[in-house]
Amino acid sequence: MSVETTKQVSDEHPMEHLLRMDRIPHIWCSTCGLGTTVRALAEALEQLEIDHDKVAVVSGIGCTGRVAGYLKLDSFHTTHGRAVPFAMGLHIARPDMKVIVFSGDGDLVSIGGNHFIHTARRNIDITVICVNNFIYAMTGGQVAPTTPIRARSKTTPYGNYETPFNIPLLAASSGAVYVARWTALHVRRMAMSFAEAISKRGFSLVEVIAPCSTLYARLNKLGTGLSLMKFYHDNSEIRHGADLNDIAIDYQSKIVVGKFLDVEKPTYLDALNHHNAGIFGDKYKPYGGGNGSD
């Protein structure tokens, strides 16, 4: 069989069936890392061969918070910081569904930080995708709990002096069972991690370091979005299973990426069912698997 290569130009986005095309164009700036990240999630959902009817996405507020609005899934755009507990309620009501929280660093670990650690502690079976662009972008470029020391923002005009969160360490030490980090450049590996995280039973976290050229790059004179991607290319180091204490991100320094943690632990509902079965015996009907109408 001979293979003929023909150059095809299509108006259709290859992931159209997973996107709300009636809402495109999106609001994100050109060279923003979010488009790539959303695309990687779509790729992961394709790879997984799961029923997309049974996948829900929950977002909080911010640039990343808008993701829920562009994915053609049951999708919830909630309040600032509360995507995780909303998702937890949704997951418990419909444990047969895959619930993915897709939100930003400010939303998840600043205003939503308490929910993030407690939901990881309970090992609630949801996947959290945290897009970290080191800044509050939707509000115009203020310091975030992830802004590296020395980096400038509109509220640290002379540079940041607060220690940022190391998000994978935070997740792992709070109880997550799967933790990975990639940059927006690592599209293939990112999609693979998303697929693994979604398949994983328990609280899984994937951090995605993503360029914000409009604010983070501009305020720090780091060039364009392309310059940031080039920086990721030159300065990312894949180190699977890295010691999480060693992967904090400093200003314009090496970014350690990879899959850091993948362990087995009973989920919240596993623990609940196991415990109650022990207490109540046959009288207890294990919870879960219902479609919410029971």
Binding site: F76, L272, I279, G292
Partner: protein, 384 residues
């Protein structure tokens, strides 16, 4: 639909108000409860956590009230009847996602066992000073439904009613009780399940691809189920019928008008007043919750003395029974509001009286129920 027999503890019980509220929620089919401990509401959570495991419910003690309110919204969209309970400080935190519940049009029930405020105030003593917070506590313009039980028995009944209204109007409903009712133990009759009428959630009968979360030209749209291929989107942003954000004044008017019209156009259905001796009354005492009980000895004493006093007990406080108060203001000499605050719902009564009769507030800062003597003195002042 009738209540599920497995959820209903039919019989005569001696229960405190908080336990009765928990039993009301369970009888109504509540299967998800997320909450954070706070005096004087905690017994509701304790009772639910004890009762849920064998009836297929899930209780989660959350990290805070912000999360509690968010989680019950998520669970409601997942198809469960859900609720939370709290008191003043927690109520303040919940106001954030209470607003999301209003905006997303999410059925659920939130109980506030009121204590004295502001701030930490009086954790173990009653107040009714969160009534205006109930009405306006979350930002923006919207209408609310709030009920006020006067006893454990009503705590049971009105919790079921609150769930029914939340499903009927597709919105969060508030049960505004107080420490006195919450911690007061009395006989509670729980009827057999076949006598408990429940309003179940209305889901769309349209197919995926044809249905939107908010139907065009429909005041109260049926909900879309998750996980069934509707792939719908909802947002706390101002949105159109598709649930898509639209950031302009026209969309805002349409969205907010609908949220308000749901309640405003159904005030007659929502209003629940219990009137006594109002027909010949010169003075009418208006109150709600526990205050509507403690005014009665004072009213009886005044009537014995020949003073024509009537009583209105507001079972529904919000929406305010504007029509009835306006009507009465044209007939009576005075209206007296008795509430455990310095005149919150009184402001609404005074507004509706519009100068057509005198209005009085018999109020105090909270911490105890009214001394009937103070109510009696106000009645005497009003007929002077």
């Amino acid at each position: 639909m009738k209540a599920d027999p497995q959820n209903v503890l039919t019989g005569a019980h001696y229960l405190d108000g908080n336990y009765a509220i928990a039993e009301g929620a369970i009888a109504a089919g509540c299967k998800f409860f997320a909450g954070y401990p706070i005096t004087p509401s905690t017994e509701i959570a304790e009772r639910v956590s004890r009762r849920f495991p064998l009836i297929g419910g899930i209780f989660v003690q959350m990290e805070d009230e912000l999360a509690s309110m968010a989680a019950i919204l998520g669970a409601s969209w997942g198809g469960k009847k859900s609720m939370s309970c709290t008191s003043g400080p927690g109520f303040s935190l919940m106001m954030e996602n209470f607003g999301l519940g209003i905006m997303l049009e999410t059925p659920c029930v939130l109980v506030n066992v009121q204590r004295g405020g502001p701030s930490t105030g009086l954790p173990t003593l009653p107040g009714q000073a969160d009534m205006m917070q109930a009405r306006w506590g979350s930002h923006g313009d919207y209408e609310v439904i709030a009920l006020a039980p006067d006893s454990p028995q009503e705590g049971f009944e009105l919790t079921i009613h609150a769930f029914n209204l939340s499903e009927k109007y597709r919105m969060p409903v508030l049960l505004m009780t107080d420490e006195c009712v919450g911690h007061m133990t009395e006989k509670v009759i729980i009827p057999p399940p076949e006598e408990i009428e429940l309003i179940e959630r209305r889901y769309t009968d349209k197919k995926p691809g044809e249905a939107w979360p908010y139907q065009e030209n429909e005041l109260i749209s049926p909900m879309l189920p998750v996980g069934e291929g509707y792939k719908f989107h909802i947002t706390g942003l101002t949105h159109d019928y598709r649930g898509y954000p639209v950031i302009n004044a026209e969309a805002q008017a349409e969205n907010v008008d609908r949220l308000m019209a749901k309640v405003k156009e159904n005030v007659d259905d929502l209003t629940w007043l219990e009137e006594k001796d109002v027909e010949d009354a010169e003075v009418v005492v208006v109150s709600y919750g526990i205050s509507s009980r403690v005014v009665q000895p004072a009213i009886a004493k005044a009537r014995e003395e020949g003073i024509k006093v009537g009583q209105i007990k507001m079972v529904t406080v919000w929406p305010f029974p504007e029509k009835r108060i306006r009507e009465l203001a044209g007939k009576v000499k005075a209206l007296i509001m008795v509430e455990m605050n310095y005149g919150q719902v009184y402001l609404e009564m005074d507004r509706c009286a519009a100068g057509r009769c005198e209005t009085y507030i018999c109020g105090h800062a909270g911490g105890t129920v009214h001394d009937p003597g103070s109510v009696y003195s106000t009645i005497k002042d009003a007929v002077k």
